[in-house]
């Protein structure tokens, strides 16, 4: 094999176990780069592969230590022992505890946290409750509240293929302009989710994680908040992001034309032009 046929990436993966509420979670995480820690949280029903472009981009990794991990039940992170005995429902409390336990395990100092979709929701909770710990939060496709527009039971029933329906649902959230290869890579992640996991995540995103009654309490002088949402996102719409930004005094909201709910994976080149100045600004804080 000639060298030109081989391309090793800079991303390195590892496993760790953390204990939250007496349950042990075996977590898979990937990282690349050195500098300011940047913790990346994937969307509901997917995994950390969504951030591979950022993890491989030296323009980011020369200044940031980019870290992305799979939540338990997702990607290569296991569910805890006994998962088969109860229905998976991601609660706000568990989600926050897993993130903070992960950060503690990695011993990151004053990190930036960036989440997409449900990850973009939980970072708003963290901006309020962990304002001294985080240098800044970035909510991609983030809002403090959404309204359900389909019945979640479609996502987990024996007569409908879970992977197929998940991908078919979220394909509505990808912009038609996004490159076809990245569109289908983004959908592929959804086709691989475990039974009922996307549905369990949406319990947080559509119900338990509602935050519109507290988002106005965020002090952006203590923890700056950046919101970036895609024009074509029909879930966390630009209108919902703008409404959230109005409630969070001092937050900075940007609508990205021509992309959808998965900017970092459906159109990484376009996303880079919008996230780069945000990360530049945060690095100078």
């Amino acid at each position: 094999m000639k060298n030109k046929d081989v391309n090793f990436e800079d991303i390195v993966g590892r496993y760790l176990s953390i204990t939250v509420d007496d349950e042990v979670f075996r977590i898979y995480a990937e990282e690349s780069g050195e500098g300011i820690p940047l913790i990346c949280l994937h969307t509901a029903g997917s995994d950390s592969r969504q951030f591979r472009h950022m993890l491989n981009d030296k323009e980011f990794t020369k200044k940031y230590r980019v870290i992305a991990f799979d939540l338990p039940w997702h990607g290569k992170s296991n569910p805890p022992e006994g998962y088969h005995l109860k229905e998976y429902k991601l609660t706000t409390d568990l989600y926050k505890k897993i993130i903070m336990s992960f950060c503690k395990a990695y011993k990151v100092d004053n990190p930036v946290i960036m989440g997409c979709s449900m990850g973009g929701r939980v970072v708003l909770h963290l901006a309020l409750e962990q304002s001294k710990f985080f240098r800044a939060v970035i909510a991609l496709e983030g809002s403090d509240k959404l309204e359900a527009y389909y019945d979640l039971d479609w996502l987990h029933r024996p007569d409908v293929h879970g992977g197929e329906i998940q991908a078919a649902f979220v394909s509505s959230q990808i912009a038609p302009q996004s490159p076809v290869n990245y569109r289908h890579e983004t959908l592929w992640h959804y086709m691989q989710g475990g039974p009922g996991v996307f549905k369990g995540d949406l319990y947080f995103y559509w119900h338990d994680g509602d935050f519109e009654d507290r988002s106005s309490l965020i002090d952006t002088k203590l923890c700056p908040v950046y919101l970036l949402s895609g024009e074509y996102d029909c879930s966390c719409t630009p209108e919902r992001t703008k409404a959230t930004a109005q409630r969070i005094i001092g937050s900075k909201a940007t609508i990205i034309p021509g992309t959808g709910h998965f900017p970092m994976s459906e159109n990484p080149e376009l996303f880079k032009t919008y996230i780069k100045p945000v990360l530049e600004e945060i690095s100078k804080l």
């Binding site: 409908v160 197929e164 329906i165 394909s171 509505s172 302009q177 029909c234």
Partner: protein, 122 residues
């Protein structure tokens, strides 16, 4: 909107699309303004599209919207909220009712045969 014959041809000549719909055997109703069309599918192949003439003719499920909405959906680059039938559903631009199980079992297939009537490459 293309002609009905072109719509049928675009779907049936797309081998990958027909393959994905190989388990679909039904008739569904597709509504544009006050007009309903009965789209009959056999093993993923559209065998006929006929205008509904009496109310006793019906499909397993019905997808209905206004002509202006479908025209936007069928543009090469549809505007936001019109780019996908579930985006249209979220904004209440279209209505879906009836027995939704076969629709959900083959959702991407049905999305793709509907958008096949437009100019996008999907």
């Amino acid at each position: 909107m293309q002609s009905i014959n072109n719509w049928i041809t675009r779907v049936n000549s797309n081998k990958r699309l027909v393959h994905r719909g190989r388990w679909v055997n039904l008739t569904f109703t597709f509504g544009i303004d006050d007009h309903d069309f009965l789209i009959k599918i056999n093993n993923g192949v559209i065998t006929s599209i006929k205008k509904r003439t009496v109310l006793t003719q019906s499909g397993t499920f019905r997808i209905h919207g206004k002509s202006e909405a479908w025209e936007k959906h069928w543009l090469k680059i549809p505007p936001k909220d019109y780019h996908d039938i579930f985006a249209m559903l979220a904004k209440k631009i279209i209505v879906i009712d009836g027995n939704l199980i076969p629709l959900m079992q083959n959702l991407q297939y049905f999305k793709d045969i509907i958008i096949s009537n437009g100019a996008s490459d999907f």
